[in-house]
């Protein structure tokens, strides 16, 4: 993990503050639809590729209507890809039964399922990133809290999100200070590390106490309140029901195969 990642969290926050029809939708509708989307995508048998293709519609529409930067999201997906590739790459090595014939070329089941894993990875990650980029942490937490997320946990997510930037900046300043004083030495030794990180921890804890005092000064009584702004409109309902119907249809009928047969004369 590098410090550069922090600017990208900031970028997400910035995107979430934009305004678009997708941003204006209720957080609950978007969160529920995305969860249904991921579950349906992952419910396909392992050798499906073509049947997954219609599902690209959902992230593409989120990105387009939400007016999100394609390149930025794509880079974020690539950064996260190594784990899925690492586990998936064993499939071509272990599963060598031929499954797919293109003319005279045979493709083994392993490669088919590996391709399927990559597609699913792209679909699920792009949908999740698009969700947060056009909803934002505050609205998402408030929405989840109204759907039954324990309030203590919703508050914890918001606290964490609020202090993420503050503590991360403090940490990166300390690292910069260390690097300036130890040019070319590489990572600190354990002894130095313990005092570096220990100080960061003490400062964080002090900050926690300071925050607590500030909360008390503003009348905190031990009960955490999360602002509830939104009320669901008919359009939110339509969004959820419409997409769910599409996902179910695409799950039950192989839309891509139907399309292919319509296009190819005589199958």
């Amino acid at each position: 993990m590098s410090i550069g990642r922090w600017t990208e969290v900031g970028r997400m926050d910035e995107l979430a503050r934009r305004d678009s029809p997708m941003h204006r939708l209720d957080a609950r509708a978007k969160a529920l639809t995305t969860i249904v989307f991921i579950v349906v995508v992952m419910s396909f048998p392992r050798y499906d590729i073509a049947a997954l293709m219609p599902f690209f519609l959902y992230p593409f529409v989120l990105v387009a209507v939400g007016d999100l930067p394609v390149g930025f999201l794509f880079r974020r997906i690539l950064v996260a890809a190594p784990f899925a590739i690492l586990i998936g790459i064993f499939n071509p090595l272990l599963d060598r039964t031929p499954r797919l014939f293109l003319g005279e070329y045979a493709i083994t089941g392993g490669w088919v399922s590996f391709a399927s894993i990559l597609l699913r990875f792209f679909l699920t990650v792009s949908a999740a990133l698009a969700l947060i980029a056009c909803t934002g942490m505050h609205r998402l937490c408030a929405g989840l809290e109204r759907m039954g997320l324990p309030r203590v946990f919703a508050a914890q997510l918001l606290f964490l999100y609020r202090y993420l930037f503050v503590v991360a900046h403090e940490g990166s300043r300390m690292v910069r200070g260390f690097e300036l004083r130890s040019y070319g030495a590489g990572a600190p030794r354990l002894r130095v590390y313990s005092s570096l990180l220990g100080h960061l921890l003490l400062r964080s804890m002090d900050r926690g106490q300071g925050v607590h005092r500030a909360m008390l000064a503003r009348g905190f009584d031990g009960e955490i309140r999360v602002l509830r702004g939104e009320s669901a409109r008919p359009v939110d309902f339509v969004f959820f029901v419409g997409w769910t119907a599409f996902f179910v249809a695409a799950r039950v009928w192989n839309l891509a195969d139907l399309l292919g047969r319509v296009v190819l004369p005589g199958g």
């Binding site: 993990m1 997400m12 678009s20 992952m42 419910s43 396909f44 048998p45 590729i49 293709m53 219609p54 690209f56 529409v61 387009a64 209507v65 007016d67 996260a80 586990i87 064993f90 599963d95 031929p98 499954r99 003319g103 392993g110 399922s113 894993i117 990559l118 990875f121 699920t124 990650v125 999740a128 990133l129 947060i132 998402l140 324990p150 203590v152 946990f153 508050a155 914890q156 606290f159 964490l160 993420l164 503590v167 991360a168 940490g171 990166s172 600190p188 354990l190 130095v192 590390y193 990180l197 220990g198 921890l201 003490l202 804890m205 926690g208 607590h212 799950r251 192989n254 195969d257 292919g260």
Partner: protein
């Protein structure tokens, strides 16, 4: 060891999510009941600290490489099990949403693997009894390393079990676990070193900071969270055994069974994954399209004969139609997205 959505089946992801949700609700209630109102801001700030700590590396003694803190055990030591579990969970939520480290369906698994084991198993049952209340430096290091290693190995076993049960990856259980355990042994040692370094420093610099950590009920041997966790594990393992026994004897037999249709019958009790697959099998115009291997020729003909529309059972044809249809679907999705984006840009102007 963040698992991605692409490797988790809905049945496994959903089961573990249910256990995790139960643990979150339980921990939230306990934290609320402890009525220590300093805890809320402290949990938030320490979660942020764990994030920051993960970008600071240290050089691992004797190896020449570098590592960083994971934070699960440290949070348990500073906050007690319940608050630590919520804090770890919140860190993982933010990682999943903003960095795509682990997915949303897999989030339940990730919170379970990286939160349940250090907070509810290792800290109360291993670290506390061994380290005691006196923070003697000579004891702190070995106990921290041992605890971190055990937590990491348990978590890695969870990853292996959940991945294998999901059945998306082909990796056999044995190979995968033999691959994961040594790696996580090493990561656990690094984690233990980093944890001991930080706890040792804070204990020396400001002893009351470690002392001030609330003594929550988990330390008194409260077995409820352990039971919830073990129950979830039992459900997962039970599902696994029945699934492996009935439907996944081995690759080739499994694929034959799939085509001939006997597997669908046996798999009916397994869950969403199989059931949805079954719905698709029965409603699809061409079940198992593009699926061909020499030994399944007869079975394929049989299945295609049952269709009303007599599509030629030449497999190359169906797989080509699937591929072309897939490409068209992808392009259509792209065109819709692009069109919407254009319209939006025009509207803004």
């Amino acid at each position: 060891m963040h698992m991605a959505d692409a490797l988790v089946s809905p049945a496994v992801g959903g089961t573990v999510w249910a256990a995790t949700a139960g643990l979150i609700a339980y921990s939230a209630r306990e934290v609320k009941r402890s009525s220590d109102d300093r805890l809320a801001p402290m949990m938030g700030v320490l979660g942020a600290f764990v994030f920051a700590a993960q970008m600071i590396n240290f050089s691992i003694p004797l190896t020449g490489s570098s590592g960083h803190l994971g934070g699960g055990l440290l949070l348990a030591i500073l906050l007690g099990p319940h608050a630590a579990f919520l804090t770890i969970a919140s860190v993982l939520v933010v990682q999943a949403l903003f960095f795509a480290d682990g997915g949303i369906l897999a989030l339940g698994c990730n919170i379970f693997n990286m939160g349940f084991f250090p907070a509810f198993i290792v800290y109360p049952l291993l670290y506390r009894p061994l380290a005691g209340d006196s923070r003697i430096a000579s004891r702190l290091w070995p106990v921290s390393i041992l605890s971190a290693v055990v937590a990491l190995l348990l978590g890695a076993s969870g990853v292996v079990l959940e991945t294998t049960l999901s059945g998306v990856s082909e990796l056999p259980f044995r190979t995968f676990i033999l691959l994961m355990l040594p790696i996580h042994l090493a990561i656990g040692i690094v984690e233990g070193l980093a944890t001991a370094a930080v706890v040792g420093f804070v204990a020396r610099a400001r002893p009351e900071a470690v002392n001030a950590s609330p003594r929550v009920s988990g330390a008194r041997g409260d077995l409820r969270p352990v039971l919830i966790g073990l129950l979830a594990a039992a459900v997962v393992v039970g599902a696994a055994v029945s699934w492996f026994a009935s439907t996944h004897p081995d690759g080739l037999e499994w694929s034959i069974a799939k085509v001939s249709g006997s597997e669908e019958v046996a798999g009916a009790s397994v869950g969403v994954h199989e059931r949805l697959a079954q719905v698709q099998e029965t409603t699809a115009f061409l079940p198992d399209y593009g699926f061909k291997s020499n030994e399944t020729e007869a079975a394929l003909e049989e299945s295609s004969a049952s269709e009303s529309e007599a599509w030629p059972a030449v497999d190359a044809g169906t797989s080509v139609s699937g591929l072309i249809g897939g490409t068209i679907a992808f392009l259509l999705a792209g065109i819709v997205g692009f069109g919407l984006k254009r319209r939006r840009v025009a509207a803004v102007r």
